[in-house]
């Protein structure tokens, strides 16, 4: 029983991170139709930046997060200017091909730049994790990892703020309008370029910060970015594109399924879970388990 609870907490914190990644991805796909394949790479870069700032430069973790947010704000603006804006005016098919290829290229080059740079300048062993020793919490005979609880708390806070942003603010309502009816969105005079800039900036910053929290519990290596994009895409598809509440459920499901698989079948089969799930959902019900949602 105690073991089961540990597994569920482990699965939920992993799934929570997947859900956050997928949340940001879903938001940008449903509004701008640009699939950012480099999404997972931004996550890994976030983790790497955090480790460099807090471990190598010995900054306080909070200060490290602040600096990281600033860095990725600039990076996200450059990404939106350079890639998204160039693609936005294209026809449907060209936008699709262009966004997959351009962000794939960006992801590949960012990934190998990080892998190469890390091995050359930082550490010949290309795995990074955070040094912050987290307090283990004991509830009866259940041992809970403190860093996993921190991650869960972070996920809850971020999702709540995304929810409030989408429901209460003018820009958030604009984003929902853009996803629901693009023509109507244009007719009432909102600016899609400005909104896409804001959404991509928010999504990339949230992703990078999640990466920083993720390395508290799980070590990352530079080449995990593209597989993570696939995982977060799995969650997006599982939940249905644009269905944000369902994304949380789907992320948690995937996380628990992966943890359970590595527990019962061996860790080697864990990567196969999300691939098999993604393939099955795509083939059986491409609209997602919960149908196309409106925020």
């Amino acid at each position: 029983m105690a073991r089961a609870l540990e597994l569920v907490i482990g699965g939920l914190s992993l799934g929570g991170i997947y859900a956050l990644l997928a949340f940001a991805m879903s938001l940008t796909i449903s509004t701008t139709r640009v699939l950012n394949v480099a999404h997972g790479v931004f996550f890994v870069w976030g983790g790497a930046t955090f480790v460099i700032l807090s471990q190598r430069l010995r900054l306080h973790p909070v200060l490290a997060i602040v600096i990281l947010t600033g860095l990725f704000f600039v990076l996200a603006l450059a990404f939106e200017r350079g890639i998204v804006r160039t693609l936005l005016g294209r026809s449907h098919q060209m936008l699709l091909v262009g966004s997959i290829m351009a962000t794939f290229g960006l992801g590949l080059s960012m990934e190998s730049a990080l892998g190469y740079g890390w091995v050359t300048f930082v550490d010949p062993y290309p795995v990074f994790s955070s040094p912050l020793a987290m307090f283990p919490i004991r509830l009866g005979d259940v041992a809970l990892s403190g860093s996993r609880l921190v991650i869960l708390a972070f996920v809850v806070v971020t999702v709540m703020s995304f929810h409030l942003f989408l429901q209460k603010t003018f820009l958030g309502k604009g984003a929902r309008a853009m996803a629901q009816n693009f023509d109507g969105f244009l007719v009432i005079g909102l600016n899609p370029y400005r909104l896409s800039m804001i959404l991509f900036t928010l999504a990339i910053m949230a992703t990078a910060i999640s990466g920083a929290f993720y390395v508290l519990a799980v070590p990352l290596n530079p080449y995990e970015g593209l597989p993570l994009t696939l995982k977060s895409f799995t969650v997006v598809i599982l939940a249905g594109v644009g269905n944000l509440p369902a994304t949380l459920v789907a992320g948690a499901l995937l996380g628990v399924a992966e943890v359970a698989t590595s527990q019962f079948l061996g860790t080697v089969w864990a990567p196969a879970v999300s691939l098999a799930v993604l393939f099955l959902v795509l083939v059986v019900k491409p609209t997602g388990l919960f149908g196309k949602g409106v925020y």
């Binding site: 794939f104 590949l108 691939l275 083939v283």
Partner: protein, 319 residues
């Protein structure tokens, strides 16, 4: 194809056919590998250029071909066949890739656009997981050796790969002129319209995928027999699926010669920068940036860009 283009094609093939005795073994290998890339790129273009589906899984057929041959050649009963063993295992490999394509076509072609691209991308990752974890059959992460007496020398492999590459590009040329190709492009433009005039979408798409999988699998067979060793990163590396779209896009999809020029350009750059000058930059960084630049700046490809079309060499082919 007018007479000038025909002459140019024949001359090019002739030059490539007499080249091997003049080349050093390194350059022979470089050319052989370039032909393998050309096969994958031309096959990729069948689905992208003519059927309008972005197929990020072309490498899966390559890897499947490589793995099935090597696995067959490690079976004692097949080894007992002697010289026939190569033919049998190559045939089994190609047929199993075609079957894999035919079976996968049913679920895959329920999807379009983005979903199709991602679903095909998963194929190679799934095969990787199986190759890694079914250690008894595939050797897991240690890989699998081809028994030494079944090695194919680079000299022979060069000619076979050249032939397969000519067939692949020739098939794309056939598609650009034939009713089959017309049916494909009809489906690309308007699927419901094509369906209503009696072109069964799934049947034609399955034909396209199966025909595109066969030369790729043959390329994988050649690669395995020539290298003598395969493992999940060599035979099923994700770049086998990702570089063909880059090469095809650079040259221009849906144009017969686009994939040829795209492959040539990328291979020349790769050879010069990474094998000759030995730049200290990882090659994936370079390919990533190239892919990004191509997708953003010349989305239609070189063969369709007006500045290139004005060159007289290209005018011969476009008429």
């Amino acid at each position: 194809m007018n007479r000038r283009a025909a002459t140019l094609t024949v001359v090019t093939i002739g030059v490539l056919a007499v080249l091997p005795p003049l080349l050093s073994s390194t350059w022979l290998l470089v050319m052989f590998l370039s032909f393998l890339w050309l096969i994958l790129t031309a096959n990729y273009d069948v689905l992208d250029g003519f059927l309008g589906h972005i197929n990020l899984g072309q490498g899966a057929f390559f890897g499947l071909g490589a793995y099935v041959t090597t696995m067959m050649l490690n079976v004692a009963a097949v080894q007992a066949l002697g010289g026939l063993a190569l033919v049998v295992s190559a045939l089994v490999a190609v047929v199993s890739a075609a079957l894999f394509a035919a079976v996968m076509a049913v679920p895959l072609f329920r999807l379009k656009g983005l979903y199709f691209a991602i679903a095909t991308l998963i194929l190679i990752f799934l095969l990787q997981v199986f190759a890694l974890n079914l250690g008894d059959l595939t050797g897991g992460s240690y890989g699998l050796y081809v028994p030494p007496r079944f090695f194919v020398s680079t000299f022979v492999a060069y000619y076979v790969a050249l032939a397969v590459a000519i067939v692949s590009v020739g098939f794309n040329f056939y598609l650009s002129r034939s009713t089959l190709g017309l049916a494909f492009r009809c489906l690309k433009e308007d699927e419901e319209g094509a369906d209503s005039i009696g072109l069964h979408p799934l049947r034609y798409k399955t034909i396209g995928l199966v025909l595109a999988s066969v030369p790729s699998a043959a390329g994988g067979v050649l690669f395995a027999l020539n290298a003598g060793f395969i493992d999940p990163t060599i035979a099923l590396g994700v770049e086998r699926s990702l570089l063909p779209p880059l090469m095809a896009l650079l040259g221009g999809t849906g144009t017969v010669l686009g994939p040829v020029f795209g492959t040539a350009i990328i291979r020349i750059i790769e050879t010069v920068f990474f094998h000759y000058l030995r730049l200290p930059v990882p090659s994936m960084l370079f390919f990533g940036l190239t892919l990004m630049a191509v997708a953003l700046l010349i989305p239609a490809g070189l063969m369709r860009s007006p500045r290139v079309r004005r060159l007289s060499l290209f005018r011969a082919f476009s008429s």
